[in-house]
Amino acid sequence: MKEIINIKGLEYTYPDGTTALCGIDLTVSEGESIGLIGPNGAGKSTLLLHLNGILRGKGQVKVLGLEIDDENLMSIRSKVGLVFQDPEDQLFMPTVFDNVAFGPINTGLEKCKVEDSVKKALEEVEMEEFSLRYAHHLSFGEKKRIALATVLSMNLELLVLDEPTSNLDPRARRHLIKLLTGFRVTKIVAGHDLEMILDICHRVVLLDKGKIITNGEPKEILSDKSLMETHGLEIPLSIL
């Protein structure tokens, strides 16, 4: 199976001296859904930012077989969709259409193809009638779905989501989980919503203090009480 991510010995230290990642080794194959879990400050978001070259640490990071360097950056960014935790950060253009079209336009697509990909992306998140709406008029749940559409409109091979269900009401959360479950693209989902991780992911990576603690079957890891409690997590109610 095609290798989507290959990380070897990744280390990253923030300019203030905080070590965020320490010797990360991770391989992700095509079609996998990986849940990245861990306490606050474990390094989950920092690791995600390495996947399309926003942060660059020491060690090897290969995405879609390409080393992250200046030459490959645009090609990688056009295939890796990164959805940030706060949709306000993702929806920086005035209208929904402009937000969803931002990525495809930057990849140099023709106008008709941009319009086509925007339409398809909005259909995928069931928001096709919102195209001309202003981003600041949307509810939080709607913003989350449009934030997802902003990356689906690109020619994605890897979908990276940082806390996709945070601050959502139960209905919007279920809806988003249903949408995510339906996507066949390779996914990496970071979050504290372990029920969502159980629903979506085939494999779980537990991260703490910048290191990978364990990596394996979601049910096996999430039901290990001592492991979960040691790393500031709790067993999800559904497997108690």
């Binding site: 930012l49 399309n52 926003i54 645009m74 960014r77 056009s78 890796v80 990164l82 940030f84 706060d86 306000e88 950060d89 993702q90 920086f92 253009m93 005035p94 209208t95 402009d98 079209a101 931002f102 990525g103 336009i105 930057n106 990849t107 106008k111 941009v114 319009e115 202003y134 981003a135 600041h136 902003t150 990356v151 690109m154």
Partner: protein, 253 residues
């Protein structure tokens, strides 16, 4: 939360709404310049009348316009307080040691008339199209991209900023913070504003990361569909002629 949106009436229909955004921006900008550069009180009065007529033609309700105009009126009020007392010239009234000059009153009136006319004209110019259309029109007019981005981000995030400010002040109120005219209020308010700026700085970094992750390299690209027709040029011609008449008349009078 109330959102102070200038394009609230962008969906209605009027000769300004159907005008090509790029030509409308240029034509009305010329008219605004011809008004603000004029030194005649008579022309300034006529310009105010003209601006009112144009707002009327744009079908934007005057109640909406007046709400936004109140800050300009408040600003102009200071000119009426300061200038008649400070600008030397023929005396109109003298009350003990205070004298009100004709020149000062004239300059204050001139500034007020020009400012109100210019602000009124902003409504048919910007208020008759959606904000994203204005941004795209500015881009097509080759306005520097950084400037366009600044306008766009300011408008997009002013609502987020207002919401954050509201939340922070609510949190302060919940802990029995009472606004007053004292040093404590000033200190707490400045701390809250400082925190807002720190939040804004953090948000800017996240937004930048989000943009970069979708291929942003410093230049904002958008799609638009502008079509110019004969009517657009006719409207532009009328406005430019009026601007020229105002300029020439201002020099003669």
């Amino acid at each position: 939360m109330h959102l102070p949106e200038i394009d609230k009436y962008a969906h209605i229909s009027s000769p300004f709404h159907s005008w090509d955004p790029r030509i409308k921006l240029i034509s009305l900008s010329l008219l605004i310049f011809s008004i603000v550069l004029n030194h005649s009180l008579i022309i300034a009065s006529f310009a105010l009348l003209l601006a009112i007529i144009l707002v009327f033609l744009s079908k934007i309700p005057f109640s909406f316009v007046l709400i936004h105009l109140r800050w300009v009126l408040l600003f102009c009020l200071f000119f009426f307080i300061i200038m008649p007392l400070t600008v030397p010239g023929d005396e109109i009234i003298r009350l003990n040691f205070v004298s009100i000059s004709w020149e000062g009153t004239k300059y204050a009136s001139l500034i007020t008339l020009r400012a109100i006319s210019a602000v009124l004209l902003i409504f048919p110019m910007i208020g008759t199209m959606k904000f994203d259309t204005t941004i795209k029109a500015l881009q097509r007019l080759k306005v520097p991209n950084k400037f366009v981005q600044m306008i766009m981000f300011t408008y997009r995030y002013v609502f987020v900023f207002m919401e954050e400010a509201r939340r922070m002040f609510t949190a302060a109120d919940a802990r029995i913070f009472k606004k007053g005219t004292n040093i404590r209020t000033l200190r707490i308010t400045s701390n809250l504003v400082g925190m807002l700026f720190i939040h804004s700085f953090e948000r800017t970094q996240n937004i930048y990361n989000s943009m970069v992750s979708r291929g942003y390299t410093g230049y904002l690209k958008t799609l638009d569909e502008f079509r110019v027709c004969g009517k657009d040029f006719l409207k532009a011609f009328s406005i430019v002629v009026i601007a020229l008449i105002l300029t020439i008349a201002g020099r003669i009078l």
